[in-house]
């Protein structure tokens, strides 16, 4: 078991998890730049605390916690800016790299999932966490994690294949 702090090539480790972590953070923060700030803070904190690389649930819990703190701060900042300027730039970078319209539709359908289903789906599909790890990160039971995942898949199926 290696600790991230003693890992010689943290870049290879980070490059593996970074896209999934960013996607995970984007559930709460809209812009890619803000998501990168969140991921950076979480990853450095995780590294500094000398946690084991295998303890991914803790890494995702850190991202989640920092993202939630971020949106609390950001909502206050947005209110101040809206008052001062009277408007904000609404451009939001895409969360996925699309190859065709089917993928674009699928990505849009993911956006409409309830938050608790989407976070489980993101952790499972693009971060390859087990239900036990997801349960640990979110503070829910494994059964709940599994059922949220199934509900998410079913909702996507229903959205993409309307009867």
């Amino acid at each position: 078991m290696q600790n991230l702090a003693s890992h010689e090539d943290w870049k290879s480790c980070f490059s593996e998890v970074a896209p999934g972590l960013l996607l995970f953070a984007r559930q709460w923060v809209q812009s890619a730049a803000d998501a990168e700030d969140v991921v950076q803070e979480a990853f450095v904190k995780f590294w500094r605390r000398n946690h084991k690389i295998e303890n991914r649930a803790l890494l995702y819990a850190a991202v989640r916690s920092i993202a939630l703190d971020f949106i609390r701060r950001d909502s206050r900042r947005a209110r101040r800016e809206a008052t001062a300027v009277g408007g904000t730039d609404d451009f939001i970078e895409p969360q996925f790299e699309f190859e065709d319209d089917t993928q674009r539709a699928l990505a849009e359908a993911i956006d409409f999932l309830p938050c608790e289903q989407r976070e489980v789906l993101v952790m499972k599909i693009w971060n390859e966490l087990t239900f036990a790890e997801i349960a640990g990160a979110l503070g829910i039971s494994q059964n709940t994690a599994a059922s949220r995942y199934r509900y998410a898949l079913a909702a996507l199926r229903n959205t993409l294949q309307p009867q």
Binding site: L23, V44, W47, R48, R64, S65, E93, G139
Partner: protein
């Protein structure tokens, strides 16, 4: 079930957007900064205040002070009546004021704390600590009651409260 597997396959084909190359540089810089500043030894545990609990404690204390102030004010007004009323007809009033002073004693009669909602908000790191903490949010309704055993009068204060408790999580 096959449909769900198909959706799963489609989802796996979808690639998340890649992080910017600058992110790697930023993380590397942050790590260098951390190495320079922080020692590898774990920092001592700092005393963590639960501000919500502190707030409610202060609110309860304020209610008690207010109650004591009201009681003292009533006692003072009773004395004033006794001092200014020199006429004979004031005697019953004076007696009543004296009686009031001796019987105006409220004693705590009960306190209830009803937890009507508990929410597990997951793991987090708080206040520079390396240990993961489970964040639990309790929504409660607290009621404090005082009773005057002589007159039978009672005073009840109820208020909703919310408490966030950070529970250390141990083990790997």
């Amino acid at each position: 079930m096959n449909d769900l597997s198909q959706i799963e396959k489609e989802l796996r084909k979808l690639r998340p957007a890649r992080p910017s190359p600058i992110l790697f540089e930023r993380i590397e810089e942050a790590m260098i900064d951390c190495r320079a500043v922080a020692s590898p030894a774990r920092q001592p545990e700092r005393l963590r205040y639960n501000w919500l609990s502190l707030g409610f404690g202060l609110a309860a204390a304020a209610v008690l002070v207010l109650f004591a102030a009201v009681k003292m004010e009533r006692q003072e007004s009773g004395k004033e009546i006794a001092q200014t009323s020199r006429e004979p007809e004031a005697a019953p009033l004076l007696n009543r004021a004296r009686k009031s002073t001796s019987t105006d004693k409220f004693v705590p009669a009960g306190a209830t704390r009803l937890v009507y909602n508990t929410r597990d908000e997951g793991l987090q790191f708080a206040g520079g600590s390396g240990q993961p903490l489970r964040r639990m949010r309790y929504q409660t309704h607290e009621t404090w009651q005082w009773r005057n055993p002589t007159t039978g009068a009672s005073l009840r204060v109820s208020y909703p409260s919310e408490e966030v408790v950070l529970i250390p999580v141990s083990g790997q």
